[in-house]
Symmetry: D2
Subunit: 362 residues, 4 copies
């Protein structure tokens, strides 16, 4: 049983089926195939406007290319200090931008706060010795599992606009945020001022498939060259596109995300009833960040349940993790089964047998 | 019918089956899974020695990472002037190396000739104003479809060694060369002095899967960071590994290559019998470079047969393409069917009906 | 009257004379001249050991090249969050390193504190997703005008060593720190664990001349190529070297630094006697960071005295700048005259006439 | 006696005097001083139009920054295969452009020929796999000492324009070409289609001072950041500017160039009268490329006269250097004295004594 990440799952059935279906016969290489065009059309329909789409194989590449499209080598990209961009991509944004600088700003729950960003920008000297701010990047869902409200997105995007930056959304868990807010892709992005989006699909059901969705046409100009040069233009491009077609068909992606969120909510609900357990941040999408007694942690490990301990400087004001406590992250995916959640909760609450039984009945 | 490239095919059956099989259940992300380890073990066995293996999704990334492992930003990489590195990767080697220079040297048939490389190196001033040579890269199969003999590889690798360069092989069509020579992977690489190899798999049956195989341990040191930073460390790593396991199992990769080469040989054999047709270079692997009358070209196009016209400065001495002739490239893959070849030949020879019939009978 | 920086002065007399002297006759280009060799010898003697020396024209280039020698594109360089590297070089370290990341750590007075650095390193996950720490850089004098003690240098260098990083000193004001500590160049650098030094000379009397002094031979290997490639290998190299020869001859550099420090001390002494004036940090070298009443600021400006207001997050604990106060930086150089200091103080204390008189008498 | 390069000379008197004059008193740093503004105004007047000017310390930096302003990392810069850009800057253009590719095209005498460039561009496939041509760079004077005519410049610039490239002139020896053609700076540059110019000054009398002169405003936008980031924005900027003011005042730069050209012409004239001596290319500016008997070479070396042997693939059709011959390059500068030339010729012609006498009389 594995709650370490949503990328420990394989691909979902409909995605795999679309892939197998697309595999037959010859097709033009390097993205000149009909399926790739169809993905762009589909995403245009989903986002209710013309978009430019660049398919790649990893979220790191999607983020780094998107940032590179917006930030010259001497520019700044403002983001949360614990964002994936800053902490988990081994400097991919710096590589793809040829040395731009990520400015990691603080904020509880992994969220940038408009007034803090504003203060940072106001206090910054302007001159050729200082790198100018060129992009603002937010993660929806955040690294702390929280979801920006539409108003929060609009406020940050507006602030970026006023300061002349492009606004990027790292949507590695885009679908989870979307169904959490119960809104539309358009409302959560360009209608709120997002210029360029990393549209994640791998964590939510694809094999290795992410899309850069560009709303500001000017940002798309260089991406075909940048992607090719980065070795991210796959030769059998239809096999990348096919994943998206399976993913987007019949709202499969939304169903996957709803399931993942529901499993996380079930996890959080159950954990909340266990004495001594509390939450670092509320569960808003498909992740649970819980502070649990070390004894519970031990029991879970003894049951060979896999998940990550977590460290953060982004806790709510006043929160402290005790010496006999552990902060853990649990991630649910489209593939997480209810019986797994229930067994996890049974182990955590000290009654694994009953869980096994419940699970068997279910 | 499509002879444009071996990447117009999808994935081969056993590869796809291995992928579907590997998809079940959870698995550690980012290449820490058992299948990825198994691929390294398998390749070690195939190459008859310990190797370091880095899986990526494209040949461009494999080449660029391999070169970057060997060449600092101020170094030279010697290669053929019409190599894929130079002509078809939009500067990926320059991107990954942070600005190293590819020196494209001439040579008929896409082959570097040891004496020409030696002359280039001898004539080069040595000083801090000049970038030092740090790698020599050869393509096996070459861009002209030729196969370096084991002696030719050894001579070039030896030359590189004497001049202090690493020696890289771009093996986008490694399997086709291997079966053409009837030798072993070890003999064609490290036993002849190759330090690092782009081991292609996509063109010969995978979906999007290439391996950097490192024989010189020192070259492997930086690759884990470089690959992650390039967005080439896929999160669901087992789905990359699984393609290789399907590819390598039961000599499937060799069978695929043998088939592709046989289909190319059949194409070449048939073309050779058509009046007015000759070859730019002999067909040694799975590609045919043929000079055909423009009338034949017109007939093929009229039959909606797809292939690329070709331009090159690498023709055999004395060869010239006439005004009423066209140089074309035909590529066969594991998926090329004999009836397709026969229909192609029938059209080319001016008797499409008989071909259709033959094909129907077959 | 200008206290804006020590680079508002021209070159000092002996430096200019050495330059003019060296100008006669032909000399080999690109640093192959006898004067350049003589500078390396002289610096070896001054540092009491063999050193590799790379002359460049700016402190930015010296710092960026030194960092690039130590940090690969995927590495971290730890430094103070308000260091020149981070704030004032428009991303030169990122450019020269091809995208390494500067981690700016806090610390009062612009100083890194060993325990904070230790805590940062201890809390950092280790894995291929995270950039590894490769260098630690300290500024001697710091951006806040403070001087690291020999023990502080040793503690930080030792910490760096234990974590496998190179240790760099940004010595843009090296001479000012040296005379402030009353120690030797060797004691302040390699004997305390410094591996590579930006040895500043421009601010203290040269025209445009800085030296990278390398103690760890391994770090010197790539610098000749890196410098040439950066356009920092000046063709008439002797004219760069000559500046150093004039600078270093007969302890001229130390005399310059002593004078600058004395002028700053006189500024600080005088300011300390003015009611309502206090210091952000003590004056330890040639810079004074003073919190002054806005009325005093107005009077100084009215007298057309030039200096910079300052912003910092590096104030001593508990210090706050009031609404009617201004934090200013005053920098003295070898060229600052005592009468200028006295006139500054007279204006600041509200008796400019008496100052003019005093100055006239002196 | 040294004919190795024009950078073996020091600075000329008026330049040095201007420098010393500018050294007095304080002045704003980083190019915000009045002298730097004055240089831009002066160059505007000399070029008869508004220009943007960026002062740097080396020709390598000027070239690399100019190319970087015009060519994105994925672009091509077309230039002569033996240009300084390609051969002598250790990859500075690749560094500053973040990995763009220089395409070195052949041409006798170091000159690009419009029809060859046109043929290259026409034959180039267009697609995302191929780097697009973004700049065309010519060297005036060429590496072979030849001077492009105004018509040749116009033809190449026009060709560049038609193919969408920026057009750069490497004017390391701009003044020598200008006086050779007897034209104006405007006629030799923007009036013929040049967009951006490396305006050399070091070789012709400055210490370390070159200017990037930008005619196409769009190319100037990023240069302030790029220059700072490259460590090429010198802090005591007036000392860079002062060199230019001395250089440009009272046509001193033109007088220097005329002298250098005259000395080269005298060298060529004398050499032409020596049996067995001929020229690789005519002497059009301040360089002589002469094919001399090995015996003459030996005599010159025995007399400790310094110059470079030369290798080139850019000889006139049919020219071959015999086994008992040497191709040498002789460069004259503003500092070359007539008696040195005469002594050189006396040694070369086998009568050193008479030369010594002549020289003594002169």
């Amino acid at each position: 049983m594995n709650f370490a990440s949503d990328n420990v799952a394989g691909a979902s059935g409909p995605v795999l089926e679309a892939l197998v279906r697309a595999n037959e016969g010859p097709s033009p290489a390097y993205g000149a195939d009909p399926l790739t065009l169809e993905v762009e059309r589909r995403l245009g329909s989903i986002f209710e406007r013309e978009v430019s789409v660049f398919l790649v194989t990893t979220g790191t590449a999607a983020n780094a290319l998107a940032i590179a499209a917006a930030v010259p080598p001497w520019g700044l990209c403002l983001c949360h200090e614990e964002s994936h961009l800053v902490d988990d991509e081994c400097g991919a944004p710096e590589f793809y931008t040829h040395g731009a600088k990520l400015v990691g700003l603080p904020g509880t729950g992994g969220k940038l706060k408009a007034d803090q960003v504003e203060a940072y920008l106001a206090g910054r000297p302007k001159g050729v010795k200082q790198m100018p701010p060129c992009a603002l990047s937010i993660s929806q869902v955040t690294e702390a599992g929280l979801v920006y409200s539409l108003d929060e997105i609009a406020a940050l995007a507006d602030l970026g606009r006023r300061h002349g930056t492009a606004v990027h959304m790292d949507g590695a868990r885009f679908a989870n945020a979307l169904v959490a807010l119960g809104t539309t892709p358009a409302e959560m992005t360009w209608k709120r001022g997002i210029d360029i989006l990393s549209f994640g699909a791998t964590k939510n059901g694809c094999l290795m498939a992410e899309a850069i969705v560009v709303f500001d046409k000017a940002l798309a100009e260089t991406l075909a060259y940048r992607r090719k040069r980065a070795g991210q233009t796959v030769s059998k491009g239809r096999l990348l596109a096919a994943q998206f077609l399976g993913y987007l068909a019949e709202d499969h992606w939304l169903a996957n995300a709803r399931h993942a969120n529901a499993m996380a909510a079930r996890l959080a609900g159950g954990l909340g009833r266990i004495p001594g357990v509390r939450f670092a941040w509320p569960c808003e999408a498909n992740e649970v960040f819980s502070i649990i007694p070390r004894t519970v942690d031990d029991a879970l490990k003894a049951a060979e349940i896999i998940y990550h301990p977590w460290t953060t400087g982004s806790l709510l004001s006043g929160e402290r993790i005790g010496a006999d406590e552990v902060l853990i992250r649990l991630v649910a995916s489209f593939a997480t089964r209810q019986d797994e959640v229930d067994r996890f909760l049974a182990v955590a609450s000290g009654s694994p047998q009953s869980a096994a039984k419940t699970s068997a009945i279910a």
